[in-house]
């Protein structure tokens, strides 16, 4: 099985072709996903020749909250857990941001953005502390906390409402540079690049992978398991918060009822090559997977398929991809 752990990423120089080959093998799943995404884009253009830059922009705006949620989910799962409260946390952050920005100045929105992102970190850290302190499995704690955060979201705002600052809305709509580069995509790249890339190679990043792949071995090699878990969930909370903020930015309001983001984030990480057993996978795969799932939905709509079948097909894709992945892993082990 190819592992995109940071340790393996440090190539030892030498033949650049061999390095490239190794990189391709290591990230073969991500490369395959990118090819699939390319194929889907071409297919979309074939099905609907008028598919253009603005459609791509809408695709990116729609995918932005899901992609951020998927990154958050991926970090939780890589650390050996899972966050079933991610949809509720997104709703909580979304309504908090929307209610704070209602009737306030554009400048104040900067404070709001920093505030709600910090709130995401705190909410995630609370999840992590409860998991570590209660010794109850992650899945149960985050399941129970999903009620708590969803209730908190309803307390903040009972019905959809609030507002978003104009500069925030403009930040993700439209394109930058070429008309083919949607701003939402740039925002996604910047957020992920600023937070995850430096982290992945850091001590904390290594610890997250180590704890996820073997808790006991990590503990015996001197990794602070509890602290790493809390940090991983705090990061998940940060990305869930960013996802919630993106929801408010793209719709202009906050909605207290959790959307389908838990399901979508889990589907994306599974498709993106993150192992549910923990310790394996990266961030790029899940993001590409989010766009693939969104494009499949677009294509099915263009093809005039009953939108209800779209759900069937998405579920089937999720299951079949995992089956194929498991099958390939088995064959590689036998070979």
């Amino acid at each position: 099985m190819s592992v995109s752990a940071p340790a393996a990423a440090q190539s030892r120089g030498g033949d650049s072709v061999a390095t490239l080959g190794r990189a391709l093998r290591r990230d073969s799943w991500t490369v395959a996903l990118l090819l699939l995404l390319g194929g889907l884009l071409i297919l979309t253009k074939v099905i609907s020749p008028r598919y253009g830059a603005s459609d791509l922009g809408f695709l990116a705006i729609g995918a932005l909250p899901v992609a951020l949620a998927a990154v958050g989910q991926a970090i939780a799962v890589i650390s050996g857990g899972i966050d079933l409260s991610i949809g509720a946390v997104m709703a909580l952050i979304s309504v908090t941001a929307a209610s704070l920005m209602r009737g306030s100045s554009e400048e104040f929105a900067v404070v709001v953005v920093i505030g709600v992102l910090l709130m995401g970190v705190v909410v995630g850290a609370v999840n992590g502390v409860l998991i570590v302190a209660s010794r109850v499995p992650d899945i149960i704690v985050t399941l129970a906390m999903s009620f708590v955060w969803a209730g908190a979201a309803l307390l903040v705002m009972g019905t959809p409402g609030g507002a978003a600052a104009d500069w925030l809305k403009n930040l993700i709509s439209g394109s930058i540079g070429s008309e083919w580069i949607p701003k939402a995509l740039v925002v996604l790249a910047v957020v992920v690049g600023v937070v995850w890339l430096p982290l992945r190679r850091s001590r904390l990043g290594l610890s997250i992978y180590a704890v996820g792949s073997d808790r006991l071995a990590a503990f015996r090699s001197g990794v602070e398991v509890s602290r790493t878990k809390v940090a991983a969930y705090a990061l998940t909370g940060l990305f869930a918060g960013a996802g919630g903020l993106a929801l408010t930015m793209s719709t202009g309001i906050g909605t207290p009822i959790p959307g389908p983001y838990l399901l979508l984030s889990v589907a994306a990480i599974v498709l993106g090559g993150v192992s549910l057993a923990g310790g394996r996978g990266g961030i790029v795969g899940p993001i590409v997977a989010v766009f693939i799932l969104a494009l499949v939905r677009t294509d099915l709509t263009f093809l005039g398929v009953d939108p209800n079948y779209t759900t069937v097909i998405q579920g089937a894709i999720m299951v079949i991809v995992v089956m194929v992945g498991a099958f390939l892993t088995l064959r590689r082990k036998q070979a």
Partner: protein, 333 residues
């Protein structure tokens, strides 16, 4: 270690030492659960004196039965280290098929057709988990998307013919005999006995524990794991179907989102009932008490006239607290 020596030092009265208490509770995990249930009922009586009567008992049982049946599906799959997140949508689909088929074909055909739907959903889950080794969380999550989509399409097809829950089903799910005895107990008591006895006495029950405890060891001792898992998920789907039928009878409605709100409580009931999500440990009796606890808790929060958000927060916090307390009591080291 220290507590063990402390227990020995106390000599003849082991019941006073905390270690002995813990050991006693560990051997009989049902006792603290029942105490919690009694505590909740007392709290309910204190909050609203006079609420505890025949009618209250009857309606509590009627609402707890479908949850307890769903928790049975969850308990069985969790014993093997799995989970079945498709129970809610399978239950809703079963109820909907029943309500659309029964008016034309009669209730018997309706029930058979509905349970066939539930069993085939379970079969697909079982093949995915058992044969293709897909993680149960993913398989059942994916399956719930598939069933939801198919159900929505089916809804569109039969929208003209309308749907109606047969009287017999309404009698079973929501009716009472002699003024208070919930008819659903007629179904639930034999069903629960079957699950309890099946887990304790049958070979299949032992296989479930064996697979959940140590899959490799089970395989090496000759268990055909895929067969166990396929049968298990079919049973889980059927149990979900039965729960859906009972709930449809209770509410006298059938819709795609009918049983949605029971998904998380079904997992919670099994967990606070002491079944480990990692498999191999637990049983159904705890889940039944867990379902009763959750039902009484919901009533208590409603009676306290808490606003919906606060109710949700308390519900989540209490589930977490019970699970944490349980983990401490039953921890094996």
């Amino acid at each position: 270690m220290t507590s063990a020596t402390g227990a020995a030092g106390r000599g003849p009265s082991p019941w006073v030492s905390p270690a002995a208490w813990r050991a006693g509770l560990r051997d009989r995990p049902l006792i603290p659960l029942i105490l919690l249930l009694v505590g909740l009922v007392v709290a309910l009586q204190v909050v609203q004196p006079g609420i505890i009567n025949q009618g209250w008992l009857s309606s509590t049982i009627r609402f707890a039965v479908p949850l307890a049946i769903l928790a049975a599906a969850q308990t069985l799959t969790m014993l093997t280290g799995g989970i079945d997140l498709s129970v809610a949508i399978v239950a809703s689909a079963t109820a909907y098929v029943l309500a659309t088929v029964a008016p034309q074909q009669g209730p018997v055909v309706g029930v058979v057709a509905a349970l066939a739907v539930a069993a085939s959903a379970g079969l697909v889950n079982g093949i995915g988990v058992g044969v293709f080794r897909v993680h149960p969380l993913i398989m059942t999550l994916g399956m719930s998307l598939v069933v939801l989509g198919l159900l929505t399409v089916y809804q569109r097809i039969v929208v003209a013919s309308g749907n109606n829950v047969p009287d017999e089903v309404a009698w079973l799910g929501g009716g009472t005999s002699l003024g208070f005895f919930p008819n659903s107990l007629l179904l639930f008591v034999p069903l629960a006995a079957l699950v309890l006895l099946g887990l304790r006495r049958s070979g299949f029950g032992r296989l479930l524990y064996a697979v959940g405890d140590n899959e490799v060891a089970a395989r090496l001792s000759g268990v055909r794991i895929w067969q166990v898992l396929v049968v298990l998920y079919v049973i889980s789907g059927m149990l979900a179907g039965v729960a859906g039928i009972v709930y449809a009878g209770l509410t006298n409605t059938a819709s795609a989102g009918l049983v949605d709100r029971f998904l998380l409580p079904s997992v919670a009931a099994a967990v606070i009932g002491g079944t480990s999500i990692f498999g191999g440990r637990g049983g159904y009796s705890g889940s039944i008490v867990g379902a009763l606890i959750l039902t009484v808790l919901t009533t208590l929060l409603t009676v306290l006239q808490m606003p919906e958000p606060v109710r949700q927060i308390l519900f989540g916090a209490i589930i977490l607290a019970v699970a944490a307390a349980y983990t401490r009591i039953t921890e094996q080291t």
